[in-house]
Symmetry: C2
Subunit: 221 residues, 2 copies
């Protein structure tokens, strides 16, 4: 894990609830790694466009992919800045007073610019990182991209210019006088789980669920 810390600037400084702000890669990277998707923000004709998409990390770089015709990929390929936001909702915070209700969450915001990965070997490696981010072990099992497929997809490597995380954990914080109220208070935890595998109706007879997939399914129950 990187021991990098991102400089606090006007861009990444957590302004509301600054005590919830973190700036070290050791906090930020696991938030990225645990999430299968992110929300990419960019300015297009003066508007903020926000696109949900898969996110992968390769050391200190982030990877995004898409069709070479997608507006997001063309925007990044042109060297424009993007933001990447990752959010995990960990629970609902039930306070005694309505106004102190909150959520427990972990979020990360990254700012940066990207460059296209064009060289074939580097591109195949990046495609492998994406596939194994989705389902660890899948890359070696599935049919690998052929040259036509490789060309049709665009991969961008994002240099992290600035990053921060914002985290809330723990019980509600109520006003002193409210602790005497007869209102139940605490946390309703939330988490994302995998359900039971659903076989493709067109699956070839006799093909079994591989062990890496069974293990992965069981890792989030």
């Amino acid at each position: 894990m990187s021991d990098k810390t991102f400089e606090k600037t006007n861009l990444n400084r957590v302004k509301r609830m600054p005590d919830r702000g973190k700036y070290d890669a050791e906090t930020i990277y696991p938030i990225i790694d645990e999430s299968l998707i992110c929300h990419v923000g960019f300015v297009d004709h003066g508007r903020a466009i926000v696109i949900p998409t898969i996110l992968a990390r390769d050391g200190d770089k982030l990877l995004l992919h898409g069709s070479s015709k997608s507006r997001m990929m063309m925007h990044i390929a042109a060297g424009n800045e993007i933001s990447i936001t990752v959010t995990h909702l960990d629970g609902l915070v039930l306070a005694r007073s309505s106004m102190h209700h909150s959520m427990n969450y972990r979020s990360a915001v990254i700012f940066g610019t990207g460059t296209i990965i064009d060289e074939s070997e580097a591109k195949m490696r990046a495609l492998g990182i994406f596939t194994d981010k989705l389902i660890p072990g899948r890359w070696d099992d599935a049919r690998k991209p052929n040259p036509i497929e490789e060309k049709a997809t665009m991969i961008c490597e994002i240099d992290i210019e600035s990053a921060s995380a914002k985290i809330r954990t723990g019980p509600p914080g109520d006003d002193d006088e409210d602790y005497a109220l007869d209102v139940w208070a605490g946390i309703l935890p939330m988490r994302q789980i995998f359900g039971d595998l659903i076989e493709d109706p067109l699956l070839k007879d006799g093909v079994q669920v591989p062990k890496y997939l069974e293990d992965y399914k069981n890792s989030r129950q």
Copy 2:
């Protein structure tokens, strides 16, 4: 439910995979209602800022709230446009070929501008909508906001200028010749569930978990 359909324009038209695009409120509103959070996008000093926050709906209007000092709320209060994106990840799509891997998802993107809800009765009603969006039934149980708390929070009502949804469901789609491969294919479903309630360590003795909360916990298992 509204029978409204949003006009397809350059702003909301689903450009990539257009067959996944939907423009009717009957599809879009449930995507909003099922999600506790959204990602708000806005342009600040030429940059796309993306903020995760709670979202509620009141008929054909969306509600956002925050501190009156937050950058997002000041931006909306000034009459600037925002985008609101909601994303549900429903499953991982395992194809036989790496390139046909995908995700099943439901996402909605809304563009609009907001106005501040200032009048006290309307504001209290909106605060009730937020509290009951988080935990249905909570508003009548928790201590209601006092005048100071009411003043410290800002609520904006967003007029939906344009909206669309994008949805993927069902099994993978592979190239014809790949169906003969010995690779397991199908769906790994994902969903967000509630865990067991965690009592506040400072909970007053004898306060029981209310029925509406127990029911809500059981609604996402």
